[in-house]
Amino acid sequence: MEKVKQKDLILYSGLIILGLAAPYLFSAFKVQLTYLCVLIVLAMTWNLQGGEMGYNTFGNILFYGLGMYLTASVQVGMFFPLAEWTESGGEKTFVHTTAQYFQGIGVGLLVSAIIPAIIAGAIGYAILGLRGHYFAICTLGLGIAAGEIAGGIEIIGAGQGFTTPPFPAEIVDTEARGKFFYFLSFALLVGTFVFVKYIYGSRFKLILNAIRDNEDKAEAMGIQTMKYKIVGWMCSAFFCGLAGGIMGGLIGYIDSTDVAFDGREMGVFMVLMAILGGKGTLWGPVIGATLFHFFKEGLWTLILGWQYVALGVLIVVIVVYFPEGLMGWLREKYPEKFGEVIDDKDRKAQVELK
């Protein structure tokens, strides 16, 4: 492990303290903060493919949705017959005890991390040979197909949707649920960040970059690109699945196309956030997601009915003025802050040449 610089240490500990204190400081905003954590996780994991590897995937929503259904199914299925829980009309209602609820969600989250990762491996093996638009379109199809398929499976509620187990009634504190999901998502965020930061300091990231910059050359240099592409995708799937599992429990109701395999919103948002912040950077997706979330929560309701128009304008502005995202823009403006050395003579020479 390389030594962490002191300034970084201050920054990180500050952020962690802020994160831990947030639900107490902004008690009313717990749910939004939970969303923020999940959005950042999604943006960061998307960035691994879209930013570092150069594979624009719309398929990460698949793992998010899978995680959601898996967590809820395991949480119910461990203690009660799942089919009867989701059965049309829901005549029978089972109640989880406090212990059952937490055991269920714990095991459920574990499953929701592992299975999507395995599925990512299997699907990746099949389709990561595709490149460019072909890969993008193919993954777009994956998310849509998953939504339609999930909407037809009776045991997970089909078109009726799946009501996840309610938070145990024995816990009287109405704030407990919000805190529980917030800390869960914050832990996931910290975990994801540490993992991605670790990758950023590793050879693995360089390989992903090599694949992005010129896959054939990378291959020619003896890198088994396929292997790395699959592993990269599996890592993303792992965290996306967890994010989905937490969101399912928080929302309390899973609908196949609108909540779980929500490619139209979450699927697009994760791409947008990463690009807004600057893809291919560590902090870009974090900043992008944060800004996006604030924009959405703050302005959305002020412009009722026009919010998607505003979003469209935002996308245009990002693409036209910040094609490299905020971090990319900063990097261009203050290259020395990013550890890039610029030879002034060289720059002048270039200007003169033009």
Partner: protein, 413 residues
């Protein structure tokens, strides 16, 4: 990194400040206003019905406020509603419910549009013990979850088209019929389907086509082609407004002959206006019709409500608007009987609700659903090019006889 770190710190502290200054929440009752909250679908696939719902709410708020408001402990209060757009998305709806309660300090909620969104919001209102009177979530599973703070002024979804099957069997001389059905993949339509399954079992009818339609549907030609081939006695379609519009459009294009066509959401889709004669003979389930003889002192009769609504918003009120208006009347009544703003007192008053509104009688069953009001069926009938919805069942309010079977397209002018 130094400058960047500073930038970051500034950014974070700016956000912190903004949030802290934001946290001061409103009160449930502000001055002379009782603040209600609602997430409504103003955009997305339910936007047309969301607007019907909102218009219904607004109409009732105006009317109640104009007629003296709500009297609690000798003081007059007015209603005010905080709206957010849930984008027809359950995830967003749940988040907004949380926001209304936690940040805007709303203590009483009005329902969103559609069963799916109500299902997403109900756990939130339940958690914070916020009474919610909803007018557009009919899915039966809403009423079997043991929710204590959920009250619905409408009849459950499975009752929507059961009567239609009974009618078909009756016309068939008491023998079972062959049913073809196609339902959208959403909580509401799937519940309507359950009602049909029950009715089929009860009457010994046979279901020969049982299709699922995608959300956002705009094509059901595959189902209709099958219908053409197997010739069922009844075709049942449910898929909110788009489902009704798509069905009529394609049935007339493909000239599908079926003796009976039963649907939902005909009036919300303004079928008789949009498709005119093509929609004739369609049988529709409805929570309400303006010709029913219910009355109250705010809106008078259904006909008067329809007239006022037409004047205000420029179209005939679908039942979605009427039931939404009724939700406000229920709230007003409950506040006055509770004579308090205590949430639990209001909730207890809601449990004891027993009243008549222009929309129908309202009395809540143990699950929170309205048990005092039957569903009605109307049929689209045309005179020349002028089409309108006529009530055909139940017989108590029927203004017209049920026309059966639907003439073949080759015989229709």
């Amino acid at each position: 990194m130094n400058k960047l770190a500073k930038l970051f710190v500034t950014f974070i502290s700016a956000i912190t400040l903004a949030l802290v200054s934001f946290t001061s929440s409103f009160a449930k009752v502000e001055g002379e206003y009782i603040v209600l909250g609602s997430a409504i679908s103003l955009t997305g696939k339910y936007s047309s019905n969301g607007v019907h719902t909102q218009n219904g709410y607004n109409m009732a708020v105006d009317r109640i406020n104009k007629m003296g408001g709500v009297e609690v402990q000798g003081k007059k209060y007015k209603f005010e509603i905080i709206y957010y757009d849930d984008e027809s998305n359950p995830k967003r709806a749940a988040q907004l419910a949380e926001r209304l309660i936690k940040q805007d300090g709303v203590h009483y909620m009005l329902g969103p549009y559609s069963s799916g969104l109500t299902k997403a919001i109900a756990p939130v209102t339940e958690k914070y013990k916020i009474p919610m009177v909803e007018a557009n979530g009919a899915s039966r599973s809403l009423f079997t979850k043991g929710y204590k703070y959920l009250f619905a002024v409408l009849s459950p979804a499975n009752q929507y088209l059961e009567v239609a099957i009974d009618l078909a069997v009756e016309k068939n001389g008491g023998k079972g019929v062959k049913i073809a059905q196609a339902f959208e993949q959403d909580a509401f339509s799937q519940d309507v389907r359950l009602g049909i399954l029950d009715a089929a079992k009860r009457t010994g009818s046979e279901i020969i086509i049982d299709d699922k339609l995608p959300k956002e549907l705009n094509d059901m030609a595959a189902t209709l082609a099958k219908v053409k081939a197997v010739k069922p006695d009844v075709l049942v379609v449910s898929g909110h407004t788009k489902g009704a519009l798509t069905a009529i459009r394609q049935i007339s294009e493909m000239k599908v002959d079926v003796p009976m066509l039963a649907m939902t959401h005909c009036d919300a889709a303004k079928l008789s206006k949009q498709h005119g004669k093509k929609s004739e003979f369609a049988l529709c389930a409805s929570q309400w019709h303006k010709n029913l003889s219910y009355k109250d002192k705010f809106f008078g009769s259904g006909k008067k409500y329809a007239k006022d609504f037409q004047k205000e918003f420029g179209y005939d009120p679908p039942y979605q608007s009427a039931e939404s208006s009724a939700a406000l009347l229920v709230f007003k009544d409950a506040f006055e009987r509770a004579n308090s703003f205590d949430r639990d007192a209001v909730r207890d008053a809601l449990v004891d609700t027993e009243m008549q509104t222009f929309y129908g009688n309202i009395k809540f069953g143990p699950g929170g659903q309205n048990v005092a009001k039957p569903m009605i069926l109307f049929q689209v009938r045309c005179k020349g090019d002028d089409c309108e919805n006529r009530v055909v069942a139940p017989t108590k309010w029927a203004s017209d006889k049920f026309y059966h079977p639907i003439p073949k397209w080759s015989e229709r002018s």
